[in-house]
Subunit: 349 residues, 3 copies
Amino acid sequence: MTEHRALVHLTRAWYVACTSAELGKRPIARTILGRPLVLFRAGEGVASALLDRCPHRNAPLSEGRVVSGELECPYHGWRFDGAGKCMALPGLAEGPVESPGRCAEAFSVREQDGWVWVWCEPGVAPDVEPMRIPFADDPRYTVFRLEMRLEGSLVMALENMLDVPHTAYLHRGLFRSGEKRHTITARVRRHGAGAECEYVGEPRPTGVVGALLAPGGGVVQHWDRFLMPCLGQVEYKLGEKSHILSTQAMTPESDYVTRTYAIAAFRLPIPGFLLKPLVRPVIRKILKQDAWMLKQISDNVNRFGGERMASSPIDLLGPHIYYLLRRAERGELDGREHLQLEREVLLRV
Amino acid sequence: MTEHRALVHLTRAWYVACTSAELGKRPIARTILGRPLVLFRAGEGVASALLDRCPHRNAPLSEGRVVSGELECPYHGWRFDGAGKCMALPGLAEGPVESPGRCAEAFSVREQDGWVWVWCEPGVAPDVEPMRIPFADDPRYTVFRLEMRLEGSLVMALENMLDVPHTAYLHRGLFRSGEKRHTITARVRRHGAGAECEYVGEPRPTGVVGALLAPGGGVVQHWDRFLMPCLGQVEYKLGEKSHILSTQAMTPESDYVTRTYAIAAFRLPIPGFLLKPLVRPVIRKILKQDAWMLKQISDNVNRFGGERMASSPIDLLGPHIYYLLRRAERGELDGREHLQLEREVLLRV
Amino acid sequence: MTEHRALVHLTRAWYVACTSAELGKRPIARTILGRPLVLFRAGEGVASALLDRCPHRNAPLSEGRVVSGELECPYHGWRFDGAGKCMALPGLAEGPVESPGRCAEAFSVREQDGWVWVWCEPGVAPDVEPMRIPFADDPRYTVFRLEMRLEGSLVMALENMLDVPHTAYLHRGLFRSGEKRHTITARVRRHGAGAECEYVGEPRPTGVVGALLAPGGGVVQHWDRFLMPCLGQVEYKLGEKSHILSTQAMTPESDYVTRTYAIAAFRLPIPGFLLKPLVRPVIRKILKQDAWMLKQISDNVNRFGGERMASSPIDLLGPHIYYLLRRAERGELDGREHLQLEREVLLRV
């Protein structure tokens, strides 16, 4: 059997490396696309990212400490600023401290919406800014933040998040597991910056979240969105009063490990202090079931030495996620491209 | 040092995948020659085997459930019959469910003598049937069944089972570790379907099993047999009254893991209810010592990056086991071939 | 990023395999440069080393036992003398026991100074003898012996042992972490058999060891030495009364595991029974900090897939250690070569 692996390594892109809250006085280690990074707060608390290796003797800088906004190597005490420049070389009596070979490679960093984003290509100026997360700080919304380690590839994790048909099986009892079936229309649009699926005429999903969204039942508006290269978004609306927007930033640590950072914003006709204890454990449980499934799949792909993918017309976003990421990786993504298609889907409610 | 590995991958063959008792209502996962399989009972309880991977998104089907004789994938609920045909694709509103790309690869299965046998080549009709195990259900015999995981290759495990000289060392105190030495004749015959060694004029072995077989001592009849490709058999006879036939089916899980399924049948002049508590712990202990040794050897082969094999004239069956398996793997086994030789062996009793 | 690994595999060399005390009645397993060895005491207790694999069926001889000065394989009881010759093949009724294919490969061994040295190339007569360790048995000296497993390459471990600038950082609080800085001269000499660094005009180091060496402060004599291919030596002198000589024999087990055997000899104006409880825990703690750092670096090198080494003028011995080992490995070491250079170093005291 010849096998294939749907893995994409897009380094010219922003990924969330950690949350603002995680990055305090001590440096922390993170890995993106297999690249070990150290994050720390340089002068005036500016979030900074270097390759996590001292250029001198390969010690991990993340095991060092931050002294006056400089990162100090734990082995010989060499110090680096936020741009990776060597600022101190203890014991050196003659000659300059700074030299090109003594620099640590630095990565562009942005801190916004409570997340620290890293541009995963060193020495290349980013040509875009990381996306702002809607309603992250909007006082009208109740906001949940969650992080989770998923043992699945970026492509698998994004497809899983934006896939509807699995909910009746993997999340049986929590989500869309009722007895009634409705045929509805799914409208898929793909463009250069992402892909979106709109469900037209969808009855309110079963489960706690559906019940809170539309206590009286009825038809909801529902979109699943992929925003290049690492964001997934699920949006539900019922009139003007009820609105749910859940955004996940997916960071590929390695081929089969993806870290997800979620911001779920709820505007519902019940108060936030009641909403949190009802909804948070459900979100956590759903995410844990997805994490379990992704691990099962990754283990299986590694047992078999590769993947096999049979297509079905109701894999609505997965193929487009893979298509867009692969094109971008090859530098062939055309910003003007546009595709639209419609599919009938049998939804269990 | 250039190293070699005596590994054989014969896929056009029957191997025991599990016992009948292990295969109940839930699917189970097994690996044979590195191929992950799922076993389940399809319509009317018929034991069935598929490649353990949903053709859709690579989820392990063994984590799913059996519904009305069909195996349901735990991710999206796709269902497969015992032949691997896709029978349900939940959510699909239009078009046919069945399609060639949606099939799970199926393997031929036979259930007999309390074992579930799998033909390890998918899409190929077996040209033989698995061997029946003598006396497995004979009421005149007391039968022990045992399973054990051995960390050794198929060739190592088969040779170990059918080798006499090691018993005085590895099983010292349990088997053939007395002070007396007898020179006896070993007669080896090899043909297209296996190899056999007959010990002529062998005094009763020491240890519990020998004492039960021939309480008064004396000369026993003794054969060690290899039956292609995965069966080992040890047979002892004393006149018409006492008979022991122990058969082990060896299933290669991976290069250095072999699972053995044993059926040991005893007809002795003591009742079965007395025999079991006397003999069972001895068999288990001997098997555990063999398992320990096989693991030591496998670890060593992997430390060294290969095997080295010095020959000795009293390696009576090992070289023939390897020869026959290798020839069969290459499709060069000649069913008519015949070889016979005799060796003098110094047996410790 | 293309990466490089500073790994040297010099097999025509003596390495310490174990201590004399470790080698008792039972055989023991050791690995040098990836070669699994069994050590045992053959006739008259002579330390002997064979490849740890029975030539018959690959069982590890180190799991066997020593019988009358011969090593017995635990599987079939084959026996080997200290030169690897097969002396017994139980069960063999006809023909000779000894044969070239039944030999276990043997290694030259020397036992001296409490260590068992092995020449790591089988079948090649050593052209030198292992070095004697000064003062190992001198009654005027208090001697500490220590062994430790370091997860670092031989080159990393030797450089770490003989490097001064890291002490103020990795061993902060224990060694050279005071506030005063002195510029002193380091004189480096490299020749065919090693390299040495002499510190001229070095003030007494801080910490317990420095305080014992020179209670009244003052200038000490200090040399760090590398002696091909595996010895590191640190020597301090204050007049005729105070002398410390610490020798470590570094044995490369595998690429990133090195075992160090240390003999530290102290002649100080305080009695040995007072010295031991003061100094031993400090030495142990320093070694553990070095072991931790070496593991950090090795893990990082493996995360990155290789090493990167920026140079600094105060890496006084590291580059010479690597140069000499690499030249020796290639058979290009010139015994007559000589190099001398001086560097100014800023020492924290």
